[in-house]
């Protein structure tokens, strides 16, 4: 049954990405609460991440994991709560995945190279 096999694979990818995101989101929330102290400025953000390979790697993993996780979640909602056909849902999911990857890495590279790095 190919349908069931696809569902099983997506379930595994959803849980694997969730495990990675669990760590990423804890770090992200900690950084948010820390960074907003005393007000947020672009210089502060750029100084933290620009040219820093560790943050570059962290946010790359974060974006890849969310590009897997979010479209699978949206797919489940579209399949269960809208009359969209599976083909259309698949197209939406694939497009959303590519949008997250493209916009996410544009932001990561932009911040990494900001400030003339």
């Amino acid at each position: 049954m190919p349908g069931a096999a696809v569902e099983a694979k997506l379930w595994i990818w959803q849980r694997l990405s969730a495990a990675v995101l669990g760590i990423c989101v804890i770090v992200h929330l900690a950084v948010i609460v820390y960074a907003v102290q005393g007000g947020l400025t672009a210089d502060e953000i750029i100084n933290r991440v620009s040219g820093n390979l560790a943050w570059f790697a962290f946010y790359s993993v974060f974006v890849i994991a969310v590009a897997i996780h979010a479209p699978i979640g949206v797919r489940a909602i579209l399949n269960e709560m809208t009359p969209l056909r599976p083909g259309a849902v698949h197209a939406v999911m694939a497009t959303f995945c590519l949008i997250i990857l493209a916009m996410g890495f544009r932001a990561i590279i932009g911040l990494y190279t900001a400030g003339g790095v």
Binding site: A18, G22, V33, I77, A107
Partner: protein, 113 residues
């Protein structure tokens, strides 16, 4: 009057997890767009950050932080159910998860204002 299943804590946990996930997914492109303003320079990004000083935006940010924390704790609860086999009837996990999410939101609010 609520129908039977809607009186169940796990129904509300499911609904919150789904709504939070959807809103976070919709927020992502906007988040990345703003971060990519750094390509145009710090001034472009600062222009947007000043807009976020408005009280209503701060409130929306706090809701987003709570949604992110709630989706995290909801996901951990779900995976605990699936992989460790925590008793499904346990409402404690729902309560603890909600509490942590609200606490993170409060920490954000206390630091941002």
């Amino acid at each position: 009057m609520f129908r039977g299943h809607r009186q169940h804590a796990h129904y509300w946990a499911f609904a919150l997890h789904r709504i939070a996930g959807l809103l976070l997914a919709l927020f992502l492109p906007a988040h990345f767009y703003v971060l990519a303003l750094s390509i145009e320079g710090a001034a472009a990004m600062d222009g947007f950050i000043r807009w976020t000083d408005a009280p209503l935006v701060k409130l929306a940010e706090t809701v987003l932080v709570i949604l992110l924390a709630a989706h995290l704790t909801g996901g951990l609860r779900l995976m605990a159910l699936e992989f460790i086999g925590t008793r499904e009837s346990s409402k404690a996990a729902v309560a603890i998860g909600t509490g942590i999410a609200l606490a993170v939101g409060l920490m954000f609010l206390l630091n941002v204002t």
